[in-house]
């Protein structure tokens, strides 16, 4: 009885993992850019690159890699189990992560293309 319930939070987190990675990536870029613009260090550079584009790029790369792992894990689970809830939830995790992957690319672009606050 307990094992079924215990599995639920893990299953729910895995299914939504790609989207949660997107949320973390979004929050990081938003907060970093907002603070950089508000506190006046948005024009600083690191290793020859603007700090905001660099932070945005690094966060996007990490988020894409992590989401890729979820897509692969979901697809593997979907393929292995073949049918039933395991396969369904695996494919659902992969599909949600694929949606998240596209959204991560979208929100990575402004930091790279705009770079500055530009009030």
């Amino acid at each position: 009885m307990a094992d079924l319930t215990d599995r639920f939070p893990r299953t729910a987190l895995f299914t939504a993992a790609g989207l949660l990675i997107w949320a973390a990536d979004f929050l990081f870029i938003y907060i970093f850019a907002a603070v950089a613009c508000a506190r006046g260090f948005a024009d600083a550079t690191l290793l020859g690159a603007g700090i905001v584009p660099l932070a945005s790029f690094v966060a996007t790369v990490f988020a894409l890699a992590a989401t890729g792992v979820i897509i692969a894990a979901g697809a593997r689970r979907a393929g292995k189990t073949g049918s039933g809830n395991g396969a369904f939830l695996g494919s659902l995790a992969a599909i949600a992560a694929l949606v998240a992957l596209i959204a991560i690319v979208f929100i990575g672009l402004p930091g790279l293309l705009l770079g500055t606050c530009g009030f």
């Binding site: 307990a2 079924l4 613009c37 930091g111 009030f119």
Partner: protein, 633 residues
């Protein structure tokens, strides 16, 4: 699981995280209005844009909270009306999850003209375009289902057609508004009015009316009038387009929204007259539907009317107790796959065919695989919830007009009714385990993470934590816009001994209540009550140490936004201390009456869970007030 159930699950999660920012915003606004704490007053370090953030942090997810149930209805109605399973079920469910999460990253696209940095605007613009992708997945799945099946000429199908065409138009103008330079031109014009009506009437009202015509037989045993439904739909569709299509043009011509009149000769007159005519046509369509409902919708009691030949379980024969027995299903279209299922259910050949305890009861299953876990005894018929609801409404409504005494009476009535009602509901294992059919025996009482009660407390904590997170956001937002004028920490904050004492008391209180859990046995109730009382004293001490330290240091909530936000954190903690004291007193009272023990322990488990959350929130508050000011700023 049916797509509608998925949609409601996603919407439920969205409400948990979407509503708290507006709850906090409303509280801050009331604190400013009644007690002059300046969160939004620029001259005292506040910022009115903070209000916009808190409002739209709720407001944009709310758009999807409105739309997703309607999308779920479409995914249920369309397969029946086309007589074919939904195309891309997994993709539709994945898209629902995607919309549910991505919609939380769009709030500031309502604020492009507030002077936010281009970089932030670009971020929200990109997220606003990204959310169109999962919405597009659903639309293409519906179109593919239409393509594969053969649409039935019936009123629900008409409303679905109206939905698809208008919602796509509204969605596309939404993508236009996500483009920042376009939004700067169209913001607060009639273009936005046109967009939101196409989205809300197209995306929510048409599916809702489709659902009304589709599911009416579940309630009344027979469908509504086909003729009136089609007339209603036609008039509404024509009215919507006549009223709101011209508003795209009036908006582009510069007509602002929220104006009751304007000068002649601006080129808006003819278009606005057309809109007015359209509004009457739209109202006529709605009136036809309402008249149809008044004439033909009746509560029939026992119903067996799968008039559309639908595939899902709501179409099983049912009476005022819902279905006669509960079947285990393995497919998405159980009534299509098992034509005998309705008869089997009616003959009581599945789970829980009759009451075992003589009470209202249902089966609680595991969340993923739906395996039966225990029998949940539902509350008896009672006036108490109604009285509690009336008291709650009185409390808030009287507060809005500052009638404090009637408000207090309402609050006391609500609390009294809630406690009286709850007193009867944690009944323990009053009945031996019972057979639900198929050789499965289930207990009639359970405690811990397997119960709905435990999960309800977890959800409450998530709501609570999100309000607190919104408060943390407000603190840092005010820091980014005005901390140059914040008082220096050494003059505004007390010595570190105060927060350390408070932290020690928070943690000790939690440890004590955990320890109390070891004395739930009958002969340990004295210790149980003593430890619970000790934990209550420590919690009050923790709050008092924090409050007295800050007050003694001279910080006041009315002087500056910094003081206001710090005292807002304190006020939020005070509210929780009050709630926990009531919960602890209730638990003590049940212990005195012999209603809490090692098995009958749900009341104590819930109090303990919330207590631990309070400790975490108390420590986080200390870290924010005493840590952030000293070390980050």
């Amino acid at each position: 699981m049916p797509v509608y159930a998925w949609a409601m699950l996603v919407v439920g999660a969205m409400i948990v995280f979407g509503f708290p920012p507006i709850i906090l915003g409303t509280l801050l606004l009331e604190l400013e209005r009644a007690f002059h704490w300046p969160f939004f007053l620029a001259e005292r370090g506040g910022d009115p844009v903070l209000w916009q953030h808190l409002f739209w942090l709720f407001g944009h997810p709310e758009v999807y909270i409105i739309f997703l149930p309607a999308a779920g209805m479409v995914s249920m109605i369309l397969p029946t009306m086309t007589r074919t399973p939904l195309v891309g079920y997994r993709w539709v469910v994945g898209a629902l999850l995607g919309v549910g999460v991505l919609s939380f990253g769009l709030w500031a696209h309502h604020m492009f003209t507030t002077g936010m940095p281009h970089l932030s605007a670009g971020l929200f613009s990109a997220a606003s375009m990204a959310v169109a992708i999962p919405t597009g997945i659903q639309i293409f799945a519906w179109l593919a289902t239409l393509w594969r099946g053969k649409i039935r000429n019936a009123a629900p199908s008409w409303f679905l057609g109206a939905f698809l065409s208008t919602f796509v138009l509204g969605g596309l103008t939404g993508v236009m508004l996500a483009v920042v330079p376009f939004d700067w031109q169209a913001h607060d014009t009639h273009f936005v009015v046109a967009h939101l009506h196409y989205v809300l009437i197209g995306g929510m009202v048409f599916p809702l009316f489709a659902g009304l015509y589709y599911w009416a037989p579940v309630v009344s045993g027979k469908p509504l009038s086909e003729r009136m439904g089609k007339w209603g739909c036609g008039l509404m569709f024509a009215g919507l387009n006549i009223a709101f299509l011209p508003m795209h043009v009036t908006g582009m011509l510069g007509m602002p929204r929220r104006v009751h009149t304007y000068a002649e000769g601006l080129g808006w007159d003819g278009l606005n007259m057309t809109s007015t005519l359209g509004a009457f046509v739209l109202a006529a369509g709605i009136a036809v539907v309402l008249i149809d409902v008044l004439l033909h919708l009746r509560f029939a009691g026992k119903v067996d009317a799968n008039v559309w030949g639908a595939a899902t379980l709501e179409w099983l024969p049912q009476d005022n107790y819902a279905v006669r027995s509960i079947p285990r299903v393995e497919s998405l279209e159980p009534l299509w796959d098992r034509p005998q299922l309705a008869k089997e259910v009616e003959e009581g050949r599945h789970y829980l065919p009759g009451t075992g305890t003589g009470e209202r009861e249902t089966i609680v299953t595991s969340p993923v695989d739906a395996r039966p876990q225990y029998i949940l005894i539902l509350p008896k018929w009672s006036f108490l919830p109604l009285i509690a609801g009336a008291g709650t409404a009185a409390f808030f409504l009287f507060l809005t007009v500052k009638m404090l005494v009637p408000a207090a009476i309402g609050g006391i009535v609500a609390l009294g009714a809630i406690f009286r009602w709850m007193w009867e509901n944690d009944r323990g294992a009053f009945h031996p385990p019972m057979d639900i059919g198929d050789g499965i025996k289930l207990a009639v009482y359970a405690s811990g993470p397997v119960t709905t009660s435990w999960w309800a407390m977890v959800v409450l904590i998530l709501v609570d934590a999100t309000v607190f997170a919104s408060l943390v956001f407000s603190y840092f937002y005010l820091w980014t816009v005005g901390s140059d004028a914040w008082p220096a920490p050494e003059t505004a904050l007390p010595g570190i001994a105060w927060p350390l004492a408070a932290a020690l008391a928070w943690v000790s209180g939690s440890a004590l209540i955990n320890w109390a859990g070891r004395f739930l046995r009958r002969d340990g109730q004295g210790w149980f009550r003593a430890l619970l009382a000790g934990a209550m004293a420590l919690m009050v001490t923790a709050f008092a140490a924090d409050f007295l330290g800050l007050h003694g240091a001279g910080l006041r909530p009315t002087e500056h936004a910094y003081g206001a936000v710090v005292f807002a954190v304190l006020a939020w903690q005070a509210l929780h201390v009050a709630v926990l004291l009531i919960m602890a007193a209730y638990t003590l009272a049940r212990s005195w009456c012999g209603l809490v023990d090692t098995t009958r322990r749900v009341t104590f488990d819930n109090t303990r869970l919330f207590w631990h959350y309070m400790t975490a929130q108390g420590l986080a508050g200390l870290l924010l007030i005493h840590g952030a000011s000293r070390w980050l700023i």
